[in-house]
């Protein structure tokens, strides 16, 4: 009896402790809480960057992850005292974690203001944007569709379900199958904002996949399929479609002629500390911009002849 009672007591106690712990860390489900402590207490003895030490934790966009990882490796080779960890998780996760201080850098495909809205708008204001690269997105179709170029209006009609056969836009007599991204995806947001100019609703029977590799495979194999991919994924298995007659090439993106592109952002919560700043500065050096960035199929942010703000207004640089 005595033994039983103590067991129940212990159980009750631990449950209470567990519940209260939950309450405190409600938002820290995917936490990496401890790791960023090291980054904030870095010694600041030299400003040359030669004796940097500390650790940086970055998380977020899986589209940006390979670039940051590659750059982090060469940065760590040059600064042996610095330890950089890069995790994926998606843009939403990156923005959440950086605004809650769980990571030092939040990688995102979209402006923080677009994800952190309404009640969270104040969180977005505290974040500092570092644009490190540009990703352009092109409409692509199955090669048998027989269409080289589509106008903006034709694309809108296709993605809203008004046009359902390729013959209506001068292609083969073949039903159109939309391969979309989920409605929360950053790639879809970019495509809708700059190619369609409007948000679209999902259509009954449309297909949604979230990995670019799967999207490419589906479009290449499914008769009549249309979708959109980042330029780095394009190859001969899918047909690249010109937008209003403009070819989606790196040159056309850089000059501002091709409008469907978005920045890759690395957000910090407030101004970055010395180590994080050194790494972000390194991301913008010619070594990375003309090396890793180009190698991995992104477009260097430094090369862009136009710039765009969060509202989508484009200005010449």
């Amino acid at each position: 009896m005595q033994f039983r009672k103590s067991w129940i007591m212990a159980l009750a106690l631990t449950s209470v402790v567990a519940l209260s712990a939950c309450g405190n860390s409600n938002n820290a489900a995917t936490n990496n809480g401890g790791n960023n402590a090291a980054a904030t207490n870095t010694p600041t003895e030299s400003s040359s960057g030669a004796d940097l030490s500390g650790s940086i934790l970055a998380s977020g966009s899986t589209a940006l992850q390979p670039l940051v990882e590659l750059a982090a490796e060469s940065f760590m080779d040059a600064n042996s005292g610095v330890d950089i960890q890069v995790q994926g998780g998606g843009s939403g996760t990156g923005l959440t974690q950086v605004s809650e201080g769980q990571v030092d850098i939040g990688n995102s495909d979209v402006f923080a203001e677009e994800k952190l809205k309404d009640a969270d708008a104040a969180k977005a204001e505290a974040l500092v944007d570092h644009q490190v690269a540009v990703v352009a997105i092109s409409a692509v179709s199955n090669p048998d569709a027989g269409v080289d170029s589509l106008t903006k209006q034709q694309l809108v009609d296709i993605f809203t379900g008004k046009i359902t056969n390729w013959s209506e836009v001068g292609g083969a007599d073949q039903a159109i199958q939309i391969i979309n991204r989920p409605s929360s995806s950053g790639t879809r947001a970019t495509f809708e904002a700059f190619a369609l100019g409007t948000k679209t609703e999902d259509l009954q029977g449309s297909v949604q996949e979230d990995s670019s590799g799967t999207v490419k495979k589906m479009i290449g194999e499914t008769p009549g399929a249309i979708g959109y991919l980042a330029l780095s994924y394009l190859d001969e298995t899918v047909k690249t479609i010109n937008y209003d007659g403009v070819e989606p090439s790196v040159d056309n993106v850089v000059s501002g002629d091709y409008p469907v592109w978005a920045y890759q952002h690395m957000y910090t919560n407030g101004e970055p500390n010395e180590v994080v700043k050194a790494f972000l500065d390194y991301m913008l050096t010619d070594e990375v911009q003309n090396g890793d960035v180009v190698e991995l199929g992104y477009i260097p942010a430094s090369a862009m002849q136009v710039s765009r703000d969060v509202e989508g207004n484009v200005t010449a640089k």
């Binding site: 567990a18 409600n26 998606g90 199958q177 989920p182 409605s183 929360s184 609703e201 009954q204 495979k217």
Partner: protein, 283 residues
């Protein structure tokens, strides 16, 4: 003494982890309903899922129905196959049949789900596209992939149940002049049915919670499908697709947690079912 303390500590830790997980999912999953941003009936019975629209709507019925549909279909396809395989291993040719089938079926359970998804995308989807109307992607493809994934669960539970059947039951049946088929259909299957059903329910629980493989082949359109060959979604597929793209605490993120809560409650139901079947099995 030390061992006992260590064991008690482990058990306690386990209980704490389980209780806090249930609490976490429940508190996140109920947040939208408590704050009134989404009503419970709209969530459970609404058919329109448009979280990014100007007036967002969070109807999860397409995902709930999709989950049940693929799970039931997968169980329907896999159960007869599994029961036959189990009978083959225990009653028909217990010797080499078991030696041959058991490792093969155990192998099936060890294959990662992404491989199933990729095989589904490369083999099943093109096959369905060429054979049936539609794009191949859809409920049928998801159910086929799932049925292979739950085969080992049902088979191994059924085989255990069959081999633990008292020998004298079979011998009495044979002594009465019954053939092997009569013994299997009139004696063995009826007496082991509750245990076999346990395997089926366990398989369904696995199918209900499987995410990656289904997500790759089902198409993920947020609609209640009108045919087996049309794109649909499951609770798990929409959670894995959207969770990383949303920020913690947003309405969409909380709606995804509500779906996780539905999944968890369904798991409780499956566990309860298994418990009830086990109790029936003992009598």
């Amino acid at each position: 003494m030390v061992g006992r303390i260590y064991m008690s500590f482990c058990v306690l830790l386990l209980i704490v982890i389980i209780v806090s997980m249930v609490y976490f999912v429940a508190s996140k999953g109920l947040a939208n309903f408590i704050s009134g941003r989404v009503s419970l009936t709209d969530f459970l019975f609404g058919t329109k899922w448009a979280p990014e629209a100007a007036t967002p709507s969070f109807g999860a019925l397409p995902f709930i129905s999709g989950s049940f549909l693929v799970t039931l279909l997968a169980a329907l396809i896999a159960s007869p196959l599994s029961i036959c395989a189990a009978l083959f291993m225990t009653e028909i040719v217990p010797g080499w049949g078991k030696k041959l089938l058991q490792p093969v079926i155990e192998l099936l359970s060890g294959i990662p789900s992404v491989v199933y998804g990729f095989v589904g995308l490369s083999v099943i989807v093109p096959f369905l596209r060429d054979t049936f109307p539609g794009q191949g992607i859809g409920v049928a493809a998801g159910a086929l992939v799932l049925s292979v994934m739950i085969l080992p669960t049902i088979t191994s539970v059924a085989a255990d149940a069959l081999s633990s059947l008292p020998q004298n039951l079979k011998e009495s049946s044979f002594a009465l002049g019954a053939t092997r088929w009569q013994t299997i259909s009139r004696v063995i299957l009826p007496t082991t049915m509750p245990a076999i059903m346990t395997g089926v329910v366990l398989g369904m629980a696995r199918a209900f919670g499987e995410a990656l493989a289904v997500q790759m082949v089902i198409g993920n359109a947020p609609f209640v499908p009108r045919s087996l060959f049309e794109s649909a979604s499951t609770l798990t597929s929409v959670i894995t697709l959207s969770m990383g793209n949303t920020t913690m605490g947003s309405t969409l993120n909380n709606a995804l947690w509500s779906m996780a809560l539905v999944l968890m409650l369904m798991t409780f139901v499956f566990v309860l079912l298994v418990r009830m079947l086990e109790r029936r099995n003992k009598i």
